[in-house]
């Protein structure tokens, strides 16, 4: 029976290839959709992870960087700096804004930096100055390329004109781009003089970050302090949860599509080989064995399709990054597991499709002309 299964599966290699490709397409679509949210989720924490401060301090009642607002009176910078175990405090001002340049509009988070302090600044540069001066901005290289910007060109951020001083790398994504200006410029723009949004705290060597965060909350009035890991995990969680439901639904739709395609293929195999099945039944092969064979066929198609989808998406991630840098894609282990399990379930369900057809095959028909 196993030999027949393999023979039947590979009897029409072109058809098998088309089948596997079509089902792989359905899985790839799920992985792509998931990859977009994963890519954005990774980018959402880029600033937190890449600046790698030990502790982040923010307004009490706030525990995230994105989709929220934090304001701290600037006297709290000195208050936090005075806490035992704190080596350095770097304030930033932070807001979401629309950047306009070269006829293009783009959503961006804008970080206001202390003049000359690179601690919270861009971590990789594509060109130009590494830090903004007064009236200057460092914009993501992808946006600059899209808008045809050169160093010195004007950009409009939150309604105010800035000159581009540099292009940062690794700071662009669909919904989480980062632009850097000076803290004073940003404060002027939002009429928020005397306040900052977050404090990046570097601990003295040997000081435990969690203990330091607790100490800062004890000693400084109405602030929240989180270790870098906690802060990053919370923002990542926000991004993931925003896309969670729709990703599950796309997985279901892609899975249903794969069930139909695989079911069609297995059903076609059965209808094309009714005479062979009749002969097998006449020779005493049980329905159960035939079902097992169909299930193996469906499983092989499903797993080959999954492997092809993974290969395609693995190639597509760097290719997309090179050709369409606006799109951030990332393939996570969780996404692979979920799609892999879906592939197995799809195969098992698809194998049920031709059951009636198998049952209806009459062994006597093997002896008809």
């Amino acid at each position: 029976m196993f030999g027949w299964t393999v023979k039947e599966l590979f009897s029409a290699p072109q058809q098998l290839f088309a089948s596997v490709s079509a089902v792989a397409g359905a899985f790839a679509l799920v992985l792509f959709f998931d990859g977009v949210f994963a890519g954005e989720s990774e980018q959402i924490v880029a600033l937190i992870d890449r600046t790698d401060a030990d502790v982040w301090v923010m307004q009490d009642g706030v525990g995230n960087m994105h989709m929220t607002t934090s304001f701290l009176a600037d006297w709290k910078i000195d208050a936090v700096a005075g806490v035992e175990g704190v080596k350095k405090v770097t304030p930033i001002l932070y807001l979401n804004a629309v950047i306009e340049a070269g006829g293009r509009n783009w959503f961006s988070f804008v970080v206001g930096l202390e003049p000359g302090d690179s601690r919270a600044g861009p971590w990789a540069m594509a060109a130009g100055a590494p830090l903004p001066g007064r009236g200057e901005a460092i914009v993501p290289d992808v946006f600059a390329s899209d808008a045809g910007l050169a160093i010195g060109d004007p950009v409009r951020i939150a309604g105010r004109d800035f000159a581009v001083a540099g292009f940062s790398a690794d700071t662009f994504s669909m919904a989480n781009s980062i632009t850097f200006v000076t803290l004073d410029d940003l404060a002027d723009t939002i009429s928020s003089v005397g306040t900052v949004s977050y404090l990046l705290v570097d601990a003295e060597p040997g000081v435990d970050a969690a203990a330091l965060a607790a100490r800062i909350m004890d000693e400084v009035e109405k602030v929240n302090a989180l270790t870098r890991e906690e802060f990053s995990a919370r923002d990542y969680s926000i991004a993931v949860q925003m896309g969670l439901d729709i990703i599950w639904m796309m997985t279901l739709i892609g899975g249903a599509l794969a069930v139909l395609l695989t079911g069609f293929i297995v059903y076609s195999h059965v209808t094309e080989r009714e005479r062979e099945l009749a002969v097998m039944k006449a020779l005493g092969v049980r329905d159960r064995a035939i079902y097992a064979s169909l299930m193996v066929q469906a499983l092989v198609i499903g797993l080959l399709a999954f492997a092809l989808a993974v290969a395609v998406v693995s190639l597509a991630v760097p290719t997309t990054h090179a050709l369409v840098p606006k799109i951030s894609l990332a393939v996570t282990a969780d996404s692979l597991w979920r799609t892999g399990v879906t592939a197995v379930l799809v195969s098992l369900v698809a194998a049920v499709v031709p059951v009636r057809r198998v049952l209806s095959v009459d062994p006597v028909s093997a002896f008809h002309q």
Binding site: N96, V98, A158, S237, I238, I246, M249
Partner: protein, 376 residues
Amino acid sequence: MLRLALKNGLFRPGRTFLTILAVAAILAEILMLEGFLSGTYTQLRQAVIHRGGDLIVGQSGISSFIAARSVLPQRTRAEVEAIPGVAAAHPLTALSLIYEAQGRLSPIIVMVYDDAGGPSSIIAGRAPEGEGEIAIDRSLAERYGLGPGDVMRLAAYDFTVSGVTEGAAALFTPFAFITYDGLIDFFFASDVGADIAAFPLLSFLLVDVAPGADPAQVAAAIDAGVPTADALLPARLAANDENLGREMFGPILNLLLGLSYGIGALAIGLFSFASVRSRRKTLGVLRALGFTTRHLMTGVIAEALGMALLAIPLGIVMAGGLATLIETLSPVYLVQTNDPVGLWRTAIVTVFLAVLGALAPLGTLRRLDPAMAFRG
């Protein structure tokens, strides 16, 4: 050939049904993607339009309602109301906050309003009336099991849910509504109070123009008379946010749609190929009777087209059902699968894919040996 195509379709009704179902599923999936994006754009537009007002005044240079923070000085209201043609200016403040409960974090946009700009559709309870009351979007209410009368702890302050609204969400983020009385209580009773001086208290002004005044002219007068503010027609502001959404999501939509169409072409090619393979003997007889490859190909294309034409309405119905399911289970999403332009475009592409896919078995048809018709 058409009759032959019809007979072939009816000969294996199970397989024909599966084929139609699979093509319909691909079509539904494409419509869902388009509908998801279309719904996202609609939500961005509605977030502005549902606030009301003939004009919306924001910080000078801010041309987005939902994606950028607008901060207006407190005196702006009086300045705008002094402009000829302005009947009233209603304050509106937008606050981005995170609601944390049941181990989950949900970003929400809290709209603080006075006598305009509040919830446009209340499906349970009532609008907030003051102290500690909040109305929340259905998506948030269902996600956390909240209803009128329930306590909702937000930024360490206990609000009481006064009502549940519908269609108040954008960019996967639900809205909540409180009044300015509620905002003051919130500021002083919660932990935000210590830094209240730094908090933006006025984001936008919703302007009613005087009867007979031209909103565009009043907007120009506000721009000229109040340098710290810009006045925009709501439709223009809504279009700005929609365009921003298109800039953000357009590239990924094109990538996913391209992939979906590729799957569609492959699947229809597979169906045509399988159909021809299973009927090689019949087609061999036709070849022996003098039918050319072109005749046989016409039959295969007619069959694929017939299936596509049956799959299109089924796909539209499936997409509509799935959209309803998604909106019911997760109301923060709006999936609009009934956009006539999108429907026509997808239907035309499906017909094109059917023809393209039907060409897949061309090689097999060319190689058909008429002699096989006479083999046992």
